[in-house]
Symmetry: C2
Subunit: 469 residues, 2 copies
């Protein structure tokens, strides 16, 4: 690539287009098309998420996109969070619609009226469903593909109804583990925090977020899980009859992951040469490149094709007329984990050369062992991508024990963990004193020591400050 990672924003835009993940030249700000290669990556990533949803007992469904105005407006707290950002359909054909229709910004107000009809008794609970759809936000801020879109092309949103708070707590714990597994599979580390009250999902009583530190040290909210309490149930009358025959409100929760997760994968792992994809999600896991010189062409290509045929992973062979350098460039850009070079000298020795995408290290292996060696290498790459990402993550996040070091982090806009008390007002004050950092929340399960960096009282948690996307 010609763009350096030093300017991460430039690099990010370039790699998306050059590696043919998406094309954002569509004539409408904040929207883009997934190209075939990018779509395959999307399919693999959301395929794994789908598997996790099914495994944890969620059923896939599909609900309408359009929301009648009165229905969206029903939940006051909720709409307050969205009214500036909703697209409205006001015309059908040549005539005005009687009731304007919103494009879903999220689907609480779409789903819960049907939850009301589907849930009658405790026997119908828990109800756990999800859908993978596009959602819309009229972003007035600077847009950025996959990170801040007007059409969020891909959003997995799950919605669950339970008889009580215990049901919600258990579901949130289950999702905590499932999402942690998902991030681990993607080799992407995250800080899991509970957002402060002022930063919760509109209508939620608790919001948990998976924040990923990107190479520019900004954090990217990459997954969320919400306790919705009984607010929406009251509004939409989502009730059930308990064992005693009494009508009770359902306790609701929701959790979501959007195309942002792919931005996190691309951002965290990429390098100066383009994408670096975790083997489990790479649309092409190994590419065979015949290194052809005149005269040898037939022999080399035949050996390369034999190697290609022997591979049991997702594979490609590049028999184009381009020179080897151009071929290497192309497949490195696309983040193919292993390149298999088959040249005249290799063939003579009965060997091929495996090149790792992540470290670019080379290794000669016997032709008959290529498939086995590739499988081994894919596992090694996964392991070292995980390690490398974790190392960056850990060195990127500072630990501040004093106001001075917090101020330093603020000056440099670096993410930082600080001991804090349990008082949201104190967190707010701390945030107010920052120039560039925001208070992103308290780390889940953290064991703090020392004193709150704000008020000096005993620390009850660890707070994350960062410059967020």
């Amino acid at each position: 690539m010609e763009t350096s990672r030093a300017d991460f924003s430039d690099w990010y835009h370039s790699v998306l287009e050059e590696a043919e993940v998406i094309d954002s030249r569509y004539n409408l700000k904040g929207t883009y098309a997934w190209r075939p290669f990018g779509f395959k990556l999307r399919t693999l990533v959301f395929g794994e998420l789908r598997r996790l949803m099914d495994e944890t007992g969620h059923d896939e469904t599909l609900f309408p996109l359009l929301i009648p105005e009165d229905q969206l407006m029903k939940e006051a707290k909720h709409i307050k969070g969205f009214e500036d950002g909703v697209y409205w359909v006001t015309k059908g054909g040549l005539s005005d619609l009687e009731v304007p229709l919103a494009l879903r910004p999220t689907s609480e107000t779409v789903m819960y009226p049907l939850f009301k009809l589907w849930i009658r008794s405790h026997a119908d609970l828990p109800l756990k469903i999800y859908q993978i759809v596009n959602t819309f936000r009229y972003e007035t801020k600077h847009t950025r593909p996959l990170i801040r879109d007007r059409e969020i092309s891909t959003f997995k949103e799950a919605h669950c109804a339970h008889p009580d708070q215990k049901g919600v707590d258990e579901e949130m714990e289950l999702i905590r583990k499932a999402y942690d597994d998902f991030f681990a599979a993607l080799c992407v580390p995250a800080v899991v925090v509970e957002r402060p009250e002022w930063d919760r999902f509109p209508g939620a009583v608790k919001t948990v977020s998976w924040d990923v530190v990107m190479p520019d040290y900004k954090t990217l909210q990459s997954a969320t899980s919400h306790d919705l309490g009984t607010g929406f149930s009251k509004t939409f009358e989502v009730m059930y009859e308990n064992e005693k025959g009494e009508q009770q409100l359902c306790h609701l929760n929701s959790h979501g992951i959007s195309s942002r997760i792919i931005a996190a994968v691309i951002g965290v792992h990429g390098d100066e040469h383009g994408l670096v994809l975790p083997p489990a999600f790479a649309p092409i896991q190994a590419v065979v490149v015949p290194v052809v010189f005149k005269g040898d062409k037939k022999k080399i290509e035949s050996a390369a094709k034999k190697v290609f045929g022997s591979l049991s992973c997702r594979k490609e062979i590049d028999t184009s007329d381009d020179n080897p350098g151009a071929k290497y460039y192309r497949w490195e850009l696309k983040g193919v984990p292993v390149r298999i070079e088959v040249g005249p000298r290799d063939v003579e020795k009965g060997e091929a050369v495996l090149v790792r995408r992540d470290t670019r290290q080379k290794k000669a292996v016997k032709l008959k062992d290529v498939d086995k060696e590739v499988a081994k290498l894919l596992a090694e790459i996964t392991k070292s991508m995980k390690k490398k990402a974790l190392e960056f993550h850990e060195q990127a996040i500072a630990n501040a024990k004093s106001r001075d070091s917090l101020r330093e982090a603020d000056k440099a806009a670096l993410p930082v963990l600080v001991p804090v008390c349990g008082d949201a007002k104190c967190w707010g004050k701390l945030e107010g004193s920052m120039k560039r950092l925001e208070f992103r929340g308290t780390v889940l399960g953290a064991k703090p020591s020392g004193k709150c960096i704000g008020c000096g009282k005993k620390a009850e948690s660890i707070g994350l400050f960062s410059n967020a996307y």
Copy 2:
């Protein structure tokens, strides 16, 4: 079911809801939610279509939903077909948009501006892509779930660019075979016709349709394939450089299948007891029902669970407290191809009873053979569903050789094939003389004999008249 098939329309609406395929009680006409069971059916049907698309060399992609007004309006012939039926987004947040945005009614005007950027030389051709998305039509007519929706929840649309007419012809032939295979897999027969000029897709120079005869003898357009000529290429400047270095217009074609295909499957195969699903697409292929009496409960349920464990198909076991009748009713309604009854007498004999959903025939088999026997039965069911559907299809479509018999078919609104000349004006006149039937087009590959029923000249094709959805 309490609704008889005699009133097909009533039956159709009821079965969709009672079998939990969809819920159309969402508070907006022409839209509905796919429930978990229906969504699984949708996944299996569109999974097979996706497989066929991939196999025939199409790459999956995803394009934006919103189309700026000027971009949609660029292709005059095309927009003429849609202007009455487009939903318009005119507001973002609290302000009016500068340019109104259409919800895609179809994606020619979304994709082709990007085709222009992706295609440079003959080496980039053919370009063959598809997406599976929702599309929108502001229907003012009576809506009907899956058949005439305002939000078409599921639409597979493929778009291809070729260097010449030969490329289009070959692609249309390939798709002819692929769609025929798809309909065969679904056990749904169709008449494949070329639509008359006045009934082509807006902007197409040729439209081929797969028309399915539903139980009410109306035909349902269930798949289409269009030759788009070079009209859209001119408008959107989709060009390529040929071997001689000359700029040439691409020849485009498209083909689509929507959620209507699921309406066809449900309509064609269902019966008085509910859905009857072709085994390959049934979300549950076999359900084990322990037929429990007091005392025997433990023994029966243990035997039933053993049978359930031995099954290698998509399976369910009904251990609810409902009586056997209620259980049978439930799973018949959902169209589960095979029910496996495990009762006290069966267990004593070391047997289970297999009940076919399509014919409701029973057969006792040894417990250890259940899995093997179910697999055999699923194959038999597929075969006889295909046969039964074809028999209905063939008896439903009359052959008229005289104006009198055509008039009779018109009176009864029955589909009918007639010999016709090659003159579209003559077809139009014939249609004009009908009260209830429309001229749906000429049967692809038909070998006519005799004279045109309209003008008496030599017949050149066979025309389909029908009352269409």
